[in-house]
């Protein structure tokens, strides 16, 4: 039997054990292929506006995925090799030289990878039409999608995976070649010992995370780039120590609190956790960081989607809006609207002037208040109460299409006069028809400033259940020259609007799924390796009279804690980061955040249930 044959035999025998890994891999290959192939899809390429977005989004999504894949594949392969040190030791014991043993075990991972690559490509191609169709749908692109196989994408996928797989193959091979027989044998006998608790690190970890949060929230003072990098580094270090020391502290506390410990199965599950945390904390940290990335990125894309939906009210507050001071023209426009058999719900006429130097428009406070109540803005009382402006103070309303601003200014100069920006916010005002930031000034101040600029009149009309907007738009365009009057209607909005956030959202969701799959698999493997160690313990406990139900309870607790700790930590981290995002976007992102955490928890919960079932079946064999 040559070594390649042994590898194949091993591979066949272990394929069941690696089922989840293979599934995760197949899914990732299929997704990666589709990410690549959408860049070459002929129908998408035809759509000029969207294709740019699709290209760049798909590009960044696939880069993110490669980073994750490298981590996932290297981690899993490493894990499998460590699991099988005993077997490796046996081969080495029989006198097979290290390079051969290395080849046998490393090529197993390679075979596993290649198998997933082939199946994954098949699955990816099979579902590519569906994938593209859904993408076109969420991006609101109206197009027909044909079945399409992209050779370039196939080659791209094969290249990327081959490189990663070759890399892990070499890594595994080298690590086996370098291992000594004595280490391999001792790794089996190594008795677990109760870890020492480092109180210093435990307490400091909380402080570090606290500082990281502080830095993240105060990104304006520190600078966005520095703040981001510092936060990431501090969070990783803090989380590492949190699991390494802080949780040991907490669990040790519970171990010593006998009134808690001596209550049913707690004694079993908590003792196991306390004993294991030293072996597990690296994995727990990795999982917590992955969860953070997962929830944050999904939270971000769903926030964008949510934002676009909500922001429509800010971008298109009126059915029709235009700028004109010509009385005759305005009357004519009114007549046209009347003829269209639409009922007018609101007619807003406001004076403003444009400041070319700053590219802002200026209105007076009383008008601002009128518009807010006219548009029926939620919590307008709150907003208006903040606009208690003195002579030198102004309010700043963001440009409707601004998604986020990284630079905060606290002053503005209009016609050689300096004003402090007292409040800065984002509310529906003029919409995209006047796509500029708006400065709200005190009424008296407005009258003074007005003399230096040309005043215009803004006309905004809201129709009740608008009909025939297309025709109406064309008729109005004839009357008012659209460029001068900045004519903007809900028809224009719909026509120029295709949902690029839809594309991001869709790809983000797929990426999210791949991440969830990967994260779930990592913690699943880790828990399984524990189950093999705990098998003996539960056999003893059974002899001592522990019932099956009690064993189940104890396992659920033990596994549950190693699932839930990283989830809690990861969720808190991501809540903070989305909080920062929401601050940048001047938008409340509570709903998408809760949604993202909810969806993640659901998917994660499924992994939890599978893990417990597998754990029980191993323990009760």
């Amino acid at each position: 039997m040559n070594s390649f044959k042994i590898a194949i035999v091993n591979f066949k025998r272990n394929i069941k054990t690696y089922g989840l890994y293979v599934m995760a891999m197949i899914f990732s290959v299929a997704t990666y292929y589709n990410f690549l192939s959408m860049r070459y899809n002929p129908q998408f390429l035809e759509h000029e506006e969207a294709s740019g977005y699709i290209q760049s989004t798909a590009m960044s999504a696939s880069v993110l995925m490669v980073i994750f894949l490298v981590f996932f594949i290297v981690y899993s392969t490493n894990f499998f090799l460590n699991q099988r040190k005993k077997e490796i030791g046996v081969y080495a014991f029989m006198g097979i030289d290290n390079s051969k043993v290395g080849f046998i075990f490393a090529s197993e991972g390679l075979l596993l990878g290649l198998l997933s690559l082939i199946i994954g490509l098949g699955v990816g191609i099979l579902f590519s039409k569906l994938f593209m169709m859904i993408l076109a749908k969420v991006a609101l692109l109206n197009m027909k999608i044909d079945f399409f196989i992209s050779k370039k994408a196939i080659i791209g996928t094969i290249i990327v995976y081959s490189i990663i797989l070759m890399f892990t193959f070499l890594k595994g091979y080298i690590s086996i070649i370098r291992s000594n027989l004595i280490d391999l044998i001792n790794s089996l006998k190594k008795e677990e010992e109760l870890p020492k608790v480092n109180y210093f690190k435990g307490i400091v970890s909380i402080i570090i995370i606290g500082i990281a949060y502080y830095v993240a929230i105060n990104y304006e003072k520190i600078g966005f780039g520095t703040s981001l990098l510092t936060t990431i580094l501090l969070i990783i270090l803090g989380t590492y120590w949190l699991f390494g020391s802080f949780f040991s502290m907490i669990i040790r506390h519970y171990i010593n609190k006998k009134s808690f410990l001596y209550k049913g199965v707690n004694i079993v599950s908590f003792s196991n956790i306390a004993f294991r945390i030293k072996n597990n904390y690296k994995t727990l940290t990795a999982v917590a960081v992955l969860i953070t990335t997962c929830i944050t990125s999904f939270g971000t894309v769903s926030s964008l989607k949510y934002y676009v939906e909500k922001n429509r009210k800010i971008e298109v507050p009126y059915t029709i809006s235009y700028v004109s001071d010509n009385k005759e023209q305005i009357d004519k426009a009114d007549e046209i609207i009347k003829k269209s058999k639409n009922t007018i719900k609101l007619k807003e006429r406001t004076n403003f002037f444009y400041v070319p130097d700053n590219e802002v428009v200026v209105i007076k406070l009383s008008d601002f208040k009128d518009i807010l109540s006219g548009l029926g803005v939620e919590d307008r009382e709150d907003i208006i109460s903040q606009f208690n402006l003195s002579k030198n103070e102004v309010g700043y309303i963001e440009r409707p299409q601004t998604m986020m601003s990284l630079i905060e200014t606290d002053g503005i100069k209009i016609k050689d006069k300096k004003y402090d920006i007292k409040v800065s916010t984002k509310v529906p005002l003029f919409g995209n028809g006047l796509n500029f930031p708006c400065i709200v000034v005190n009424d008296k101040e407005y009258e003074i400033l007005k003399a230096n600029f040309i005043e215009h009149q803004f006309n905004g009309i809201i129709l009740d259940n608008p009909k025939n907007i297309k025709d109406l738009t064309f008729q109005l365009a004839e009357l008012l020259s659209p460029k001068e009057s900045s004519l903007y209607t809900s028809f224009v909005a719909d026509a120029s609007f295709y949902d690029f956030t839809g594309i991001i959202y869709f790809l983000g969701s797929f990426l999210f799924l791949v991440f969830v799959f990967g994260t779930g698999s990592i913690i699943y493997f880790k828990t399984l390796s524990e189950s093999f160690r705990d098998k003996g313990k539960y056999e003893i406990l059974k002899k001592l009279g522990m019932t099956d139900l009690e064993i189940y309870k104890s396992v659920s607790k033990q596994v549950g804690i190693s699932f839930i700790l990283p989830l809690i930590v990861g969720s808190i981290h991501s809540i903070v980061s989305i909080l920062v995002l929401s601050n940048m976007m001047k938008f409340n992102l509570l709903i998408p955040t809760i949604m993202s955490i909810g969806i993640f928890t659901l998917a994660y919960g499924i992994f939890y249930i599978f893990t417990i079932r597998k754990f029980m079946s191993i323990v009760q064999q």
Partner: protein, 254 residues
């Protein structure tokens, strides 16, 4: 005297129809309260099989086992587990301590699972650990203990539920002679002071000499039984003689 454990026509068979192997063949047995019973016999005689059935870990092919007139053959799995936890104590050859728990937690385990009040558990643990000379070891973990200490922890754990019977399966098998002697003295003391009923399987004549009565098993049947009526030394001699006459036993010893 009160009968704690009784078996009637106990049988255990392995294998299929063509080749039935009778591990235990029609054993009738009565164990009285406060007894220290030894079970001896050559390898493969069925000692451990008998012990496993008596201690409810294994089920007989036929026949009945009564604990104080209660037939445990009718009990369901769950019931049996709880029964085992509350009425039976175990001491195994390889200790079977949980290495993730401290000594005190190991001793407390059976009561903790039964959700007994934690203060009550603590005081019981304290009492037993001083009885077995483990006072200084209470916060340690099994990997920090010697074999003899480990087995005493196991004995303390076996006693904490105040069981009606303690089963000991080759308890000195993994111990050096000094630790063995200490443990056996502990068991004797336990038997005398707490009137604990003990059933011990062993193939070591020295260990067996601490018992009050010994049952010899061969080929799944009771071969003979002898009672201790004189000093331990003399009893030891009688055991050796008997093992010699049974064949095989002495070879195993030396």
């Amino acid at each position: 005297m009160k009968v704690v454990l009784e078996t009637r026509k106990l049988k255990k068979e392995y294998g299929s129809k063509d080749s039935i192997f009778k591990a235990i063949d029609n054993i009738d047995l009565k164990v009285y309260e406060g007894e220290f019973l030894g079970i001896m016999g050559p390898s493969g005689a069925g000692k451990t099989t008998l012990l496993n059935m008596l201690s409810t870990i294994d089920k007989p092919t036929s026949g009945n086992i009564y604990y104080e007139d209660k037939d445990i053959g009718n009990m369901k799995n769950r019931e049996l587990s709880v029964f085992r936890r509350n009425n039976i104590g175990f001491i195994f050859q390889d200790f079977n301590l949980l290495d993730s728990m401290s000594v005190e937690d190991n001793i407390a385990l059976p009561l903790a699972l039964s959700k007994v009040n934690s203060k009550e558990i603590k005081s019981k643990v304290e009492k037993l650990s001083s009885f077995f000379g483990l006072k200084d070891q209470i916060k340690k973990y099994p990997y920090q203990l010697s074999g003899g200490q480990k087995q005493r922890v196991a004995a303390a754990r076996a006693l904490i539920t105040s069981p009606s019977i303690v089963f000991a399966d080759e308890p000195t098998g993994a111990l050096d002679s000094k630790s063995s002697q200490e443990l056996l003295q502990c068991l004797s003391k336990m038997n005398e002071e707490f009137n604990t009923t003990i059933i011990m399987v062993t193939h070591d004549a020295f260990s067996a000499s601490y018992c009050k009565r010994i049952l010899f098993i061969k080929d799944g049947k009771i071969h003979t039984r002898i009672d201790k009526d004189s000093s331990r030394k003399e009893f030891f001699k009688r055991i050796i003689d008997l093992l010699g006459s049974m064949g095989g036993g002495v070879d195993e010893l030396f």
